[in-house]
């Protein structure tokens, strides 16, 4: 899987120009995780929204394995509902009027394809969702909500899974819990992932490749081990090291 992104987004009074390729030969693992790394407010969410098709860039091109999803020059724009990209948002965004089970099966209503009979059971088992199935989202903890959100995205049989700071609103213990689930997904499923984060620790644990974004553009792309310095505590340390290279 190769996702190529070369877009320009006007965000308020500044323009975000992004150009990178994720996946390909050096992705490592079956699916591979590419991290979008950068400080808060740098526009990472807008880039992911553009990849998902929720936001139309002002210029450029987005393609997955050669299939064009967006091309400003050719006026091509495949809307989000036809991209089949799973998206796990920062805040879960579960449907409050539906039970956990119905949230998980939401995408089935619009997906006429045949499903493997054990697909649902597998995802439920993978994320430990069995005891939550009949509950409503309002009564779930933050960590439980994120697990359901991940399961819901997986059951849409995504070609690519987008995760936008899925741990941001969780406390340290929940972060660790969800992170270990994500590592498990990475190793057991062959779905490529784009993982947005400003945490070096999360990126190092999860991703094989990283795209560093600063000052409205991509400042570095490559394997995590090469781009991110070992034991960098936070974004600022990384950004200094990237500049000195």
């Amino acid at each position: 899987m190769t996702l190529s992104v070369d877009i320009e987004l006007k965000l308020g009074d500044f323009t975000l120009a992004t150009r990178f390729e994720s996946g390909g030969a050096n992705a490592g693992g079956a699916g591979g995780v590419t991290a979008l790394f950068g400080e808060s407010g740098v526009g990472k969410t807008s880039i992911v929204n553009a990849i998902a098709g929720l936001l139309r860039p002002d210029a450029g091109r987005i393609a997955l394995d050669g299939a064009v999803l967006f091309d400003a020059a050719a006026r091509v724009f495949v809307p989000a509902e036809r991209r089949r990209f799973g998206y796990v948002f920062q805040e879960g965004r579960l449907f409050p009027h539906l039970s956990v089970r119905r949230n998980l099966l939401f995408a089935r209503w619009f997906d006429k394809a045949d499903h493997a009979p054990d697909e649902f059971a597998h995802v439920v088992e993978l994320l430990g969702l069995e005891p939550l199935l009949e509950r409503r989202p309002a009564l779930l903890s933050g960590g439980e909500k994120q697990r359901v959100a991940i399961g819901r995205a997986l059951l849409a049989r995504p070609r690519l899974l987008l995760l936008d700071e899925p741990l941001a609103s969780l406390d340290a213990a929940r972060k660790e819990e969800i992170l270990s689930y994500l590592v498990r997904l990475r190793d057991e499923l062959s779905i490529p992932m784009i993982y947005v984060s400003h945490s070096v620790e999360e990126v190092t644990r999860l991703a094989s490749n990283v795209v560093v974004i600063a000052d409205g553009r991509v400042t570095a792309v490559g394997p995590v081990g090469q781009v991110l310095p070992q034991k960098a505590p936070d974004y600022n340390a990384v950004s200094q090291s990237v500049e000195s290279q």
């Binding site: 998902a52 989000a80 509902e81 409050p96 619009f110 409503r136 009564l139």
Partner: protein
């Protein structure tokens, strides 16, 4: 306890209110959605036109209806020549008058509850493959349900109380267009009608309170359904 004339008035009022709510509901939902979720040139003008019955004197609305839907009016003439339908001076005309008068209230309640829905939920639905119409029926409309119920009540109450537009458009015909307020008005115009008028006033109070209680219960149930707190008891 109630005289046959009183029953006639009550049943006619309920029939008119029921049909006016039922007929305006789909249009009100569609227009509420347009106002809450879309932008188009001339939207503020459109919004103002939708709200017009709320601010115009009801007699003016009734007179406009008479001019356009009367036998000689542009729409009324078509209705008559194509379908042989005359709405003026019939209970169907009363339904139209009440529907028009209650329409802005209904649209407003539904629109407010749609605007309160986080658009991020609709975005999430998109990433899960839900196209426009599916998204509306599976996410937006169910979440707006409390507002829909409130809007139905407001329009129902407006219909029960409608006077000016009805009497101007369809007149005051017993059994056809003489709804509760018109009947009360008629009784206050005849000598010695006070006692009967007061009886009808009491009935109006009872009907309004009943409608309010029913809708309170429905709204509470709908909100609990939407927010998912009904599971509290079970866990």
């Amino acid at each position: 306890m109630l005289t046959p004339e009183e029953w006639q008035v009550i049943l006619l009022s309920l029939k008119v209110a029921f049909w006016s709510v039922t007929l305006s509901l789909p249009f009100a939902i569609a227009i509420a959605w347009l106002l809450a979720r879309t932008n188009f040139p001339g939207k503020s003008l459109f919004d103002a036109v939708v709200h017009l019955p709320l601010v115009l004197p009801p007699v003016v609305v009734g007179y406009f209806l008479l001019l356009s839907l009367g036998r000689k009016g542009p729409i009324g003439e078509l209705l008559y020549t194509w379908f042989g339908i005359t709405v003026v001076f019939t209970w169907m005309g009363a339904v139209i008058a009440c529907a028009v008068m209650g329409f802005p209230l209904m649209v407003r309640a539904i629109r407010l509850s749609m605007e309160a829905i986080d658009p991020k939920l609709e975005q999430a639905a998109r990433t899960l493959g839900a196209g426009g119409l599916a998204r509306f029926f599976v996410v937006t409309l169910p979440l707006a349900l409390p507002g829909v119920v409130t809007g139905m009540l407001l329009s129902f109450a407006r219909s029960l109380g409608e006077f000016g537009a009805t009497i101007t458009f369809v007149s005051n015909i017993p059994g056809q267009t003489r709804t509760l307020p018109l009947a009360i008005y008629t009784l206050t115009q005849v000598p010695g009608g006070d006692e009967q008028a007061l009886r009808l006033c009491a009935i109006a109070v009872v009907l309004s309170i009943a409608a309010l209680l029913v809708s309170e219960t429905l709204v509470r149930r709908a909100s609990r359904r939407v927010l998912g707190y009904d599971a509290v008891g079970r866990h």
